[in-house]
């Protein structure tokens, strides 16, 4: 058997090994460039009361979660029950960033599925989302007492990621 005819087979097996490793990885698991950087400042109207505003500095000295959501987002509905039950059992503030949504739709959605948020800030044109590097809804940020982003979770939060990643980090930061 001539060696050169084995080349395609060899190349293919290297490819298969890479694909096999690739299967164990999650391509959506992106580290945020904002990790360990100060959370970008903003001042946005609140969803429930448009005359009031919210800005991250309001929560200085607290550990809190920023959850990007929208009523048009299907995956948000998937993670929503988890957030609702979590908010009932914990007093960790969760701020919603209502991303590119219609006010009425968003309010209906919260009325229907429950409101886990301390309040939701309205990012109608998505400008704040751009500053935070949102590229898919939902996304969740863990922000510490000093106002620094410590973690970013892309996609719906699962019970597992809540238990193994978010809660331990929150507990550590709250010390």
């Amino acid at each position: 058997m001539k060696q050169r005819f084995l080349i395609p087979l060899a190349v293919f097996f290297v490819l298969v090994i890479f694909l096999a490793i690739g299967l164990t990885l999650n391509p959506r698991d992106l580290p945020s460039p904002l990790k360990d950087k100060p959370a970008p400042a903003f001042t946005l109207p609140q969803l429930a009361a448009a005359d009031k505003t919210f800005s991250p500095t309001d929560l200085k000295g607290k550990v809190w979660l920023l959850n990007v959501w929208a009523s048009w987002c299907v995956s948000c509905r998937q993670e929503h029950p988890l957030l609702v039950s979590f908010s009932k059992q914990n007093d960790l503030p969760i701020i919603g960033l209502n991303y590119k949504d219609q006010g009425a739709d968003a309010k209906n959605w919260l009325a229907r599925f429950g409101d886990p948020y301390l309040l939701s800030a309205v990012d109608a044109d998505g400008r704040v989302g751009i500053n935070y590097g949102v590229y898919g809804v939902p996304e969740t940020y863990v922000i510490d007492k000093a106002g620094t982003i410590r973690m970013k979770h892309t996609g719906p939060i699962t019970p597992e990621s809540l238990k193994t990643q978010i809660l331990p980090l929150v507990a550590e930061l709250s010390k």
């Binding site: 058997m1 001539k2 005819f5 084995l6 395609p8 087979l9 293919f12 097996f13 490819l15 298969v16 890479f18 694909l19 096999a20 490793i21 690739g22 299967l23 990885l25 391509p27 959506r28 698991d29 992106l30 580290p31 009523s71 048009w72 299907v74 590119k100 219609q102 739709d105 044109d125």
Partner: protein, 647 residues
């Protein structure tokens, strides 16, 4: 009851595929006529059974049977019935069933259209298709059964993804899969030839129409997908170098190389090993594409749901199918003779260059597609590869390919006279240079890229026309000759369209209140109103935009922004005024503020429809070439350039 019937038919199909895959192969080895004769009926039975299964699933969709989990996830009572039918392939399980249906369909087609082929060869080809069928049917049955019940039944279905509720998407997946899966026939012929040790001109001749048929479907499927992305996504683009798009483009590139390499093998008996390798590669890339799309290892705008168990299954399937084929290749190929010699300047050399360039292009696209995965697997971080990479590596490879495209058909087999070719190309070259200088200036601005593209397009068309005239003088050209030139004209039309859109399109993204006007590409767009309008399963905001040129009103366009009830997903329906030399394109963005203002995207796209027109011409050319009468003649066994294994 109907879903169980479908499930049962699928299990039977699985059993039949085992018989189809094993018995004829053993029969061919031992010379048992009865077992060899099993191949055809087995292939036809398998197709019937899979068709029954498919029909049952379609019936569950049309009858809104939400006790079937797959139906509940992908349909809805409000969904129009056309989309309820196309929803059969709107999700993972159903699209795999479509894959299997296509595979069985190709097998049945081979069994019916192969009367003039030796029985042993047919038996081997159908057996290889049966073996591939075993793997895919097992995949469907064990990991992705579309007939799984949902108990208690859902009262209402979750609805089909609104992006897929579009006429373009009704036809895109079946066309694409016909092409993808169609390369399984060329693959089966190659493997059968390797097993028998008979890699000869006859084998190449049998493979050619099947390969071309698959290529025609793939061309149409990719073009439909691109056209859909253009008018449905509302971004005005027609190709995004997205991993899922690339997954369909890779087999196309290799399939194109295969078509040309098969020509050499048929006519001259050369490149035999290379042709076999390409046939294996084309189908392997189809399988790889299925893996990339279905396992979720790459992020894509198509964002298919992924299940790691499925990924492992396809990867194992890929490893077994391709691994076995390449092992067989490594074992058999060294014994295959080299075939006819040819000179430095000859049609063989030119087609070899065609193949090298296409394979280089395939390699660079493949590398770019899986590069994020490689880097991630090596623990070197996350990154994404975008259009700048692909354009930078792809375009430089295509330029020489297109230059050679005009010369190749002019060169004689074995030895060509470069001086004679140069003489015949003089006029074409002159016309091409004039076009390269003139056309961009006519369009308003001269840029190197539009100049090169215009030059290449005219170069290909002019030399093609010259050859056709030359040939008409000596008698009636064959269908293959016409097919080749029409497909090549298609490439020229495509290249011209791409260059004109790339070079001269204009776009504006503006905030408009009713009454506002914006000017783009010499056209005026006046937003009249945005009104709410109901649809069957969505609510839409419909804009009226008055299109005018030089103050003269041409027509009113109605872009829509739809919100589907079941998923609340906003969808853009662009309004397009298509024309031979330009499209104007309006899409509604988001409502802004409470004065009735909207963000509106307006495009002027010169010659954009030539992109898909070119693809249609390519497919038409392929179709005509496929119908060449020499494929319908009985091939005498052992005739022609026979060079079997020296065993």
């Amino acid at each position: 009851m109907i879903p169980e019937l479908g499930h049962f038919a699928l299990i039977l199909a699985f059993v039949v595929s085992i018989a189809q895959g094993v018995l004829p192969l053993v029969g061919a080895r031992q010379g048992q006529a009865q077992w060899i004769a099993l191949a055809r009926p087995a292939a036809q039975t398998q197709f019937l059974l899979v068709a029954v299964a498919f029909g049952c699933l379609a019936q569950s969709f049309l009858g809104n049977d939400f006790s079937v989990s797959y139906v509940a996830q992908h349909s809805n009572t409000q969904l129009p019935s056309l989309y309820r039918f196309s929803a059969v392939w709107g999700g993972h399980e159903g699209s795999l069933l479509l894959w299997v249906l296509m595979l069985a369909g190709w097998g049945a087609a081979v069994s019916l259209a192969s009367r003039r082929l030796p029985e042993v060869m047919v038996a081997r080809v159908l057996a290889v298709l049966g073996l591939v069928g075993i793997g895919l049917l097992a995949f469907v049955l064990f990991t992705s059964n579309p007939f799984d019940r949902l108990l208690p039944a859902a009262a209402e279905g979750r609805d089909l993804n609104p992006l897929l509720q579009d006429p373009g998407l009704v036809f895109h997946p079946p066309m694409l899969y016909m092409g993808y899966v169609g390369f399984s026939v060329a693959f089966a012929f190659a493997i059968a030839a390797l097993i028998s040790g008979r890699l000869d001109a006859a084998w190449a001749r049998w493979s050619r129409p099947w390969t071309t048929a698959a290529w025609v479907f793939l061309t149409l499927g990719i073009a439909l997908g691109s056209w859909w992305a253009y008018y449905e996504l509302g971004w005005g683009g027609w190709w995004f170098w997205d991993p899922v798009e690339n997954a369909s483009f890779l087999p196309w590139l290799v399939g194109t190389a295969l078509i040309h390499s098969l020509a050499v093998t048929e006519k001259r008996g050369a490149f035999k090993n290379w042709t076999v390798l390409l046939a294996i590669a084309a189908f392997s890339l189809s399988l790889l594409g299925t893996f990339l799309v279905r396992s979720g290892v790459l992020t894509s705008v198509h964002a298919f749901a992924s299940d790691p168990r499925r990924g492992v299954f396809i990867l194992v399937l890929l490893a077994v199918v391709v691994g076995t084929s390449l092992t067989l290749f490594a074992w058999r190929a060294p014994k295959v003779g080299a075939g006819g010699n040819f000179g430095l300047v000859s049609r063989e050399t030119l087609l070899l260059m065609n193949n090298v360039l296409l394979v280089v292009a395939t390699g660079s696209v493949l590398l770019g597609t899986i590069y994020p995965l490689l880097i991630d697997a090596l623990g070197m971080g996350k990154l994404s590869v975008g259009p700048p990479y692909f354009n930078a590596v792809f375009v430089p490879v295509m330029v020489p390919l297109l230059l050679l495209m005009a010369i190749g058909p002019m060169a004689r087999w074995k030895h060509a006279d470069p001086k004679a070719i140069a003489r015949r190309l003089r006029v074409s070259l002159a016309l091409a240079v004039i076009a390269g200088i003139g056309l961009p200036l006519l369009m308003g601005a001269w840029t190197p890229l539009t100049a090169i593209s215009s030059l290449l397009a005219v170069w290909i068309v002019a030399s093609g026309v010259f050859q056709i005239i030359e040939r008409m003088k000596t008698g009636k050209p064959s269908a293959a000759f016409w097919g080749m030139h029409i497909a090549h004209f298609g490439i020229a039309v495509f290249v011209f369209g791409v260059a004109m859109v790339g070079g001269y399109q204009e776009e504006k993204d503006v905030r408009m209140e009713p009454g506002d006007t914006v000017q783009v590409g010499g056209y005026g767009f006046r937003l009249l109103t945005v009104k709410d309008a109901p649809g069957p399963n969505y609510r839409a905001a419909v804009g009226s935009v008055e299109l005018s040129k030089n103050g003269r009103v041409l027509k009113t366009m109605y872009p829509e922004k739809r919100s589907y009830f079941s998923s609340q997903m906003p969808m853009t329906e662009a309004a397009i005024d298509a024309g031979f030399t330009r499209d104007v394109y309006v899409s509604l963005g988001e409502p802004l503020g409470n004065k009735g203002a909207w963000s509106v995207r307006v495009y002027y796209k010169p010659f954009v429809d030539w992109i898909w027109g070119g693809c249609l011409l390519m497919a038409l050319g392929g179709l005509i070439a496929m119908l060449d009468r020499r494929y319908r003649l009985r091939v005498k066994v052992g005739a022609g350039v026979t060079a079997g294994v020296a065993a």
